[in-house]
Symmetry: C2
Subunit: 134 residues, 2 copies
């Protein structure tokens, strides 16, 4: 899976890494149980420090997406644990974005369509990937 770091972004590197891995999982570019490169390997490939990769891996582990094992390395979780607060957390994240959309006179339909398009395109990519594995 291709990972691209934007060193001019306002988002920290470890956050870009974390986000892209989550997106990779949602789109089927990464599968449950799949091995990730070691912190040193990925750091070398991306030209960054191993601690930066480690920080991203730690966050993904704390979020339940990644299992870290001293022997086998980093493996995408097979069962992502339920986080009962997730919908509330997501709601808080979305609130300022939806508010800004309203302020900028975006219609309810356009907003819904935008979310639907994102959601559907990711789910379709995942589906396609699973098709290929059969």
């Amino acid at each position: 899976m291709l990972i691209q770091i934007d060193f001019a972004s306002d988002l920290p590197i470890y956050r870009q890494l974390r986000d892209q891995i989550v997106i990779g999982l949602a789109t089927g570019q990464l599968e449950a149980g799949e091995e990730l490169p070691s912190v040193r390997r990925l750091a070398a490939d991306l030209g960054i420090n191993l601690h930066t990769v480690h920080k991203a891996y730690q966050q993904l582990r704390d979020e339940g997406f990644l299992v870290l094992d001293r022997r086998s390395g980093a493996v995408m979780a097979k069962n992502i644990p339920d986080q009962p607060e997730f919908q509330n957390w997501l709601s808080r994240q979305l609130e300022p974005l939806v508010a800004e959309a309203i302020c900028r006179k975006m219609s309810t339909n356009d907003l819904q369509a935008l979310v639907r398009t994102l959601d559907q395109s990711m789910r379709q990519l995942k589906k396609d990937g699973e098709m290929q594995n059969e």
Copy 2:
């Protein structure tokens, strides 16, 4: 309008301020053309530094939400300028959130419902506020 700062949040103070003002505008707690407290006044009320308020006001001005005038102070913009890149920007903001929702097995319907609820409740609040002014 009530503003609450969480000093333990991972979000910077000026960002919380900015977000709450945008939410206030979307929900009708703030109206176009309404005056905001001066940087010193608001800073004193919230127990923070005037520069922190100034930074939030500056960002809101850069985003087109606020008009700053040396004499009249800070006034919510009457006409928020179009930002042609807004939908693309919003899409990039939403991408990792939608991805995480998919990873956490949230259904398309639940995600749509969550966004719709946020959108509708804000629009309803704004409508109610406008009703009262007639």
